[in-house]
């Protein structure tokens, strides 16, 4: 009987871990991918002038009319592509932070890294009268500086997730007051420009921006993939990971660096679209629920969130009101934050 059991086990267990994606995860990825495609097609088609599905397909394969070409390639497609890329970048940045620091609150938009980008961009707009690429560069630099500051402040024989989050939340408050100071001192016209930037949206999408963001992703995502096996072991705890041959602090620093770069680059082009980094991975992991990193599902959730928020912000609000996508993600994310704070530590997740 034992022999039978063992052969049975051999086939079962040697199959299970060898397949990196469970069938459930594959189905989730396929459905989320479909959702992103549908949302993207809707966003490109619907508007003051609505394209039929056949017009859309014809235009995309280069057979469209002149006006359709302008509407699709000049006006609507850049928004959608920027939304997809930025959403994916935010989501992966959030997923990395939350996994490395083992805390769902530890996403760059909660612990002040996006805030660092905001305060830096607001300074560029309000103090130096900058616009365009300078604002983007300032935002990028601001995110990096704040992330480095939090990392150094929370270092004590290594970085613990809990300390990192607490210090990050403190830094976020500090940044809020700095922003308040900047906004009350600024000129009305520039303040409104800064406020729009700080809400975040894909309205100003241009192909060159998209190329820079896409290039960043092309460089960083393979690094994430290369470090993913170590991250899967880090999920089991620092000591377990160290015992399994993972250089814990070096890996954590590398992954934090990649996550900050992803978040900072996306923020530079679309502003800190609220809560996308924060909610995407937890949503994806709750759906997949197989203990995996769920990076691909997270990226798809992030992309879908930004595209959907932008679509709703443009078309679904009463009275022809159009707002940046960040308003809608904020409306979605804030209740989730409250729910998370209310339920954290009720269930023990550790073994």
């Amino acid at each position: 009987m034992t022999v039978v059991k063992h052969t049975d086990a051999d086939t079962r267990s040697s199959r299970a871990p060898s397949a990196p994606a469970t069938s459930r995860r594959r189905i989730v990825i396929a459905l989320l991918g479909l959702l992103v495609v549908v949302l993207a097609a809707l966003s490109v088609s619907v508007g003051a002038y609505t394209l039929t599905p056949s017009d859309l397909v014809l235009t995309l394969i280069g057979q469209g009319s002149g006006s359709d070409n302008v509407i699709v390639f000049r006006l609507r497609l850049p928004r959608v592509v920027l939304g997809i890329l930025a959403g994916a970048a935010f989501a992966i940045a959030g997923a990395l932070f939350q996994t490395i620091l083992r805390n769902d609150l530890a996403s760059p938009d909660i612990i002040g890294i996006s805030g660092g980008a905001s305060v830096s961009a607001a300074t560029a707009i309000l103090v130096f009268g900058a616009s365009g690429a300078i604002v983007s560069l300032s935002a990028f630099a601001g995110a990096l500086v704040v992330a480095a500051a939090i990392y150094l402040l929370s270092w004590r024989d290594g970085v613990s997730g809990y300390r990192f989050v607490l210090i990050g939340v403190g830094v976020a408050f500090l940044i809020q007051s700095a922003l308040g100071y900047l906004l009350t001192r600024g000129e009305v016209k520039e303040v409104s420009q800064a406020l729009v930037w700080m809400v975040g949206g894909v309205g100003g999408a241009k192909w060159p921006d998209i190329a820079v963001l896409a290039g960043t992703l092309v460089v960083l995502l393979p690094l994430v993939a290369a470090l993913a096996p170590r991250l899967r072991v880090l999920q089991l705890g620092d000591d377990t990971a160290g015992g399994l041959g993972v250089p814990v602090e070096a890996t954590r620093l590398a992954l934090v660096g990649i996550a900050v770069a992803l978040c900072a680059t996306a923020t530079a082009f679309v502003g800190p679209i609220a809560f996308v980094a924060f909610v995407s991975a937890p949503i994806a992991r709750r759906v997949v629920r197989d203990g995996s990193l769920a990076l691909v599902p997270s990226a798809l959730v992030g992309a879908a969130l930004v595209v959907a928020a932008d679509f709703l912000a443009q078309h679904a609000l009463p009275g022809e009101l159009q707002v940046p996508a960040g308003i809608l993600t904020g409306v979605l994310g804030a209740p989730y934050l409250l729910w998370l704070l209310a339920t954290t530590n009720k269930g023990d997740r550790s073994a």
């Binding site: 086990a9 072991v233 160290g242 399994l244 041959g245 995996s292 997740r349």
Partner: protein, 279 residues
């Protein structure tokens, strides 16, 4: 491989600490400690709370950098090993490992193969066979598809041991593996570890709280107090009322364990004075 070593074909491992000091945040927990782990034996580290047992284990496992002194594996300082190479010889099951939400038993055990995999050497059928073997040895095969979070404490601890076994190291360190287990599951787990030591010739080093279980399962006992080793050797040679007094500050009688003859510590305490009977 283990059979070859039985015949003396494969060189034994040596693991030793020399003048080892370990500190957290500059606060020294262990100072100038010498220790040799006997190859192929079960070594149990005991001592009062906060005496530095877990810290010592972390130091040996390379999880904590010494503030002074060195730890050597096979006559080579452990900090000079590439991380994965060390992790193919020495494995550790820490006190509270984390099971990611929703992870299955097979997936968790499979992650123990990490030190044997690389960027260009991912999952192989050999990995699958070793994982299946680790699960069979720990009787977790039937749990393969279950979620770790849904298991009982005893099952969960067997799954973690399976993960450590999948790492396939000759030396296995365990930090209080029986904590949170009821007495039945404690014995079950210790039996499993004794069996792994016996049949697979694994060198086992573990921290235990229960002196009597330590005396029963250890070939080699390491007694610690205040960051120092106060006694080492076979439990029968080491455990005396004087030592228990010195290491734990506890008055006790020591009698032979009626089941296996190993020393058994009977604590006295303030309210129960020993009756004048002879054993």
């Amino acid at each position: 491989m283990s059979r070859e070593r039985l015949q003396g074909a494969e060189p034994a491992h040596t693991l030793e600490a020399d003048g080892l000091s370990l500190a957290y945040d500059g606060r020294e927990v262990i100072g100038d400690l010498d220790l040799t782990i006997p190859d192929g034996d079960v070594t149990v580290i005991v001592g009062a709370n906060a005496c530095g047992k877990s810290t010592l284990l972390r130091g040996i496992a390379r999880l904590l950098r010494p503030s002074a002194g060195i730890v050597r594996l096979d006559d080579r300082q452990i900090s000079t090993y590439p991380a994965k190479e060390f992790a193919r010889v020495v494995g550790i099951l820490p006190q509270s490992p984390i099971a990611p939400d929703g992870i299955t038993v097979a997936d968790l055990v499979g992650r123990g193969r990490h030190p044997h995999q690389g960027l260009f050497r991912s999952w192989s059928s050999a990995d699958g066979a070793i994982v299946a073997d680790a699960m069979a040895a720990t009787s977790t095969t039937e749990l393969a598809g279950r979620r770790v979070g849904e298991l009982s404490g005893g099952q969960r601890q067997r799954v973690w041991v399976a993960m450590a076994l999948a790492q396939d190291t000759d030396i296995l360190l365990l930090d209080e593996p029986t904590t949170f287990l009821d007495v039945t599951h404690q014995i079950e787990l210790l039996d499993l570890l004794a069996e792994l030591n016996h049949t697979r010739k694994k060198t086992i080093v573990m921290v235990l709280h229960d002196l009597n279980l330590a005396a029963r399962y250890a070939h080699h006992l390491v007694v610690m107090a205040h960051g120092e080793v106060v006694a080492t050797g076979a439990p029968a040679d080491v455990l005396t009322p004087e030592l228990v007094q010195r290491a734990f500050g506890l008055e006790s009688h020591i009698i032979p364990d009626p089941v296996c003859g190993t020393p058994m510590v009977i604590p006295i305490g303030r309210f129960h004075r020993p009756a004048p009977i002879s054993y």
